[in-house]
């Protein structure tokens, strides 16, 4: 039976909880209620209150307590109810967790799970893509899976990682994307991108929900004889510059795509990486398709205009392919 993206995360969490008694969950309404999105439904019954810690509405305490417990040898997996509230625990993440190892050699093996992304008419506070607040913070790892396979494999790796990992799960994918997962246990390494589709004419480099938009656009453009390669970053920090550059070298044209807003987005880091590393191989400008620089609007026609989609990608891709 195919497994949803949400179910995949759930399975990954479950397996790691079974495997390692130091792993515990902490967050708001994650126990009896099973979490706002029901990712942890059934965990309290199985693992008990000791390992499934319901908290008051206190994102800073959730992250802070995760740090403290992880310093002492546990592995905390904290849930932000929506990634939009991660800003309430921001100092703990970027100043405490991110810097402990560098400052005094103290590992903080914790994970912050944060349901993010738009397309669900959540408005400005239930739709954000906060990854860039963290990609610019050395000491953190940032993961953003696009598929159930990766979601499961990466949450498992994140839990086993000895550094703090931010795990952005896209709400829009939770129940929309399904696939058959291997029976046998597996993990997906943090820091390795994946070629989601091979192509020769142009590379789209993207991550998260936009991988599906890219694949959709690629499919449609194949009919126009434009063969697009889609690189799914999977991990944003540390960035797999090798795979990104290899794809750019191969196709010589790059379109950067993200759901996050434009200025200061991931596309910038990718553009800088490409121009400093594979400049000589490029046959056209690096272009971006992103959300515009606004908060995420609420009303469906506005949000639709806000989000990148296959049409917007195809327009830019056609232009670039012809360049």
């Amino acid at each position: 039976m195919p497994t949803t993206y949400l179910e995949a995360i759930r399975e990954g969490l479950w397996e790691e909880m079974e495997r390692d008694s130091n792993v515990f969950l902490i967050g708001e309404d994650i126990g009896a209620y099973g979490g706002a999105f029901k990712v942890t439904a059934g965990f309290l019954e199985k693992f008990g209150e000791k390992r499934v810690v319901d908290t008051p509405i206190s994102e800073s305490a959730i992250v802070g307590a995760s740090i403290g417990a992880s310093l002492m040898g546990l592995r905390a997996v904290a849930e932000m109810q929506f990634s939009d509230f991660i800003t309430c625990g921001f100092d703990q993440i970027v100043n405490f967790a991110a810097k402990c190892r560098y400052r005094w050699n103290a590992p903080v093996p914790m994970v912050v799970r944060a349901p993010s992304g738009g397309g669900i008419h959540g408005g400005p506070y239930h739709s954000q893509n906060p990854e860039m607040w963290f990609v610019r913070t050395p000491g953190l790892k940032v993961v953003a899976p696009a598929t159930p396979y990766d979601a499961k494999g990466l949450i498992k790796s994140a839990i086993r990682d000895n550094d703090p990992v931010l795990f952005f799960e896209h709400k829009g994918l939770y129940r929309r994307i399904k696939e058959e997962l291997p029976e046998a246990e597996y993990t997906v390494p943090i820091g390795k991108a994946r070629i989601a589709r091979e192509g020769r004419d142009l590379s789209i480099i993207t991550y998260g929900a936009m991988v599906w938009v890219a694949l959709d656009a690629a499919e449609k453009l194949a009919a126009e004889d434009i063969e697009i390669e889609v690189v799914d970053l999977r991990t944003l920090l540390p960035l797999d510059r090798e795979t990104v550059c290899a794809s750019a070298k191969k196709t010589a044209k790059v379109l950067l795509l993200h759901e996050d807003t434009r200025t200061g987005g991931m596309a910038g880091e990718l553009a800088a990486t490409l121009t400093e590393s594979v400049w000589e191989y490029l046959d056209g400008p690096i272009v971006r398709v992103t959300a515009p620089d606004t908060p995420v609007p609420f009303s469906p026609p506005l949000e639709e205009a806000f989000l990148p989609n296959a049409e917007k990608v195809m327009d830019k891709a056609r232009w670039l392919a012809r360049y």
Binding site: E28, Y33, S60, P124, F298, S299, L302
Partner: protein
């Protein structure tokens, strides 16, 4: 008839006859109930509502009772179950419904989430989703009122769960140190989402936190609108007199799930029945009958009138268009 005419203009309670005041309370509580019922039980199920739905069923006495006491120059910070505040300040039911449907006729022209509504002309500030973030902002608004030499106060609303947040602490502490004219109004409905109060705090009452800021705090029956108003008057007098902030804890109950798609199985069954008996609208009607301030026939009439108003408001909202996608980029900055 346009939506703007659908609501009674705001009249200060002070000075009015008690009967008249009670009728006003009943009207706004009934209107809030009817608008929210319509949203949660009809329009949401019909797929006409955009986004999640959070209502204040059973808690109407709190926002209605206190907001009716406010002067036009007082500044109100409603939270997500305080629709009464908006109605009383002059936001129409039609605008609210349009907001919930993502229409351009909504208070925020389709930009902001459905229960996020504010209008500076009405001295109502829109919340952000993060619980308690409005608390320090309310303190700042109070600072401005004093700075400007106005004899106005701020009413800041939040739930029990919000009191766990750092912003709540920083905001109350700052307001207390600065002796700012803010009335903090907590609806303690016993739950934050699925989390019962016992897992949110280990003091018995939110009011027990008042002494941590050296400010007066009182507990009131949040389902008794007249009691809420008595407390509200004391609090606002205190604040208006320059004596600093005041904390009112209104004990109440959320007669619904956290949101429209939460069955709230975690709530012990008996609580629903117990609290149903304490419904603030029914209680006010009983009281009014007892005091001779109204008859059942009048109440029925009011209900019918409210229903008709909301019917019209729904119709108005439904004819309001969706926003033009061309407005997507507007208003990020003043001039860009």
């Amino acid at each position: 008839m346009g939506a703007a005419e659908l609501t009674i203009p705001h009249t200060a309670l002070e000075g009015g006859e008690p009967a008249q005041a009670a009728r006003q309370c009943l009207y706004y509580m009934s209107l809030m109930r009817e608008v929210e019922d319509r949203i949660e039980r009809k329009l949401y199920r019909q797929g006409k509502i955009v986004g999640g739905v959070y209502v204040g069923r059973g808690q109407e006495a709190i926002s209605v009772g206190t907001a009716l006491l406010a002067a036009p120059g007082d500044v109100l910070f409603p939270s997500h179950r305080d629709m009464g505040v908006l109605l009383i300040r002059g936001v129409t039911a039609g605008q609210i419904l349009a907001q919930y449907m993502g229409r351009v006729g909504g208070v925020t022209r389709g930009k902001d989430g459905n229960m996020h509504m504010g209008d500076l002309k009405l001295n109502v500030v829109s919340i952000i989703s993060a619980m308690a973030a409005c608390v320090p902002v309310a303190a700042g608004a109070a600072l401005a009122l004093r700075y400007q030499g106005k004899n106005n106060v701020v009413l800041c609303y939040f739930g029990d769960g919000a009191t766990s947040r750092g912003d709540w602490h920083e905001g109350l502490n700052f307001a207390a140190v600065q002796k700012l004219p803010v009335v903090f109004i907590c609806n303690n409905n016993q739950y934050a989402y699925s989390t019962p109060i016992s897992r949110q705090m280990s003091c018995a009452n939110v009011a027990d936190r008042g002494p941590a800021y050296g400010i007066p705090a009182e507990i009131v029956d949040g389902n008794d609108i007249l009691a809420v108003q008595e407390a509200g008057k004391r609090a606002m007098e205190h604040a208006r007199a320059g004596k600093g902030p005041y904390l009112i804890e209104c004990k109440t109950f959320r007669m619904t799930g956290h949101s429209a798609n939460d069955a709230a199985d975690y709530v012990p069954k008996n609580l629903w029945d117990e609290w149903a008996k304490l419904d603030p609208i029914t209680r006010l009607e009983v009281r009014m009958r007892d005091k001779g301030w109204g008859t059942q026939a009048e109440f029925d009439q009011l209900r019918a009138r409210v229903k008709a108003e909301v019917d019209e408001a729904v119709a108005w909202a439904e004819q309001s268009p969706y926003p033009d996608p061309a407005t997507l980029l507007d208003d990020v900055y003043e001039n860009l």
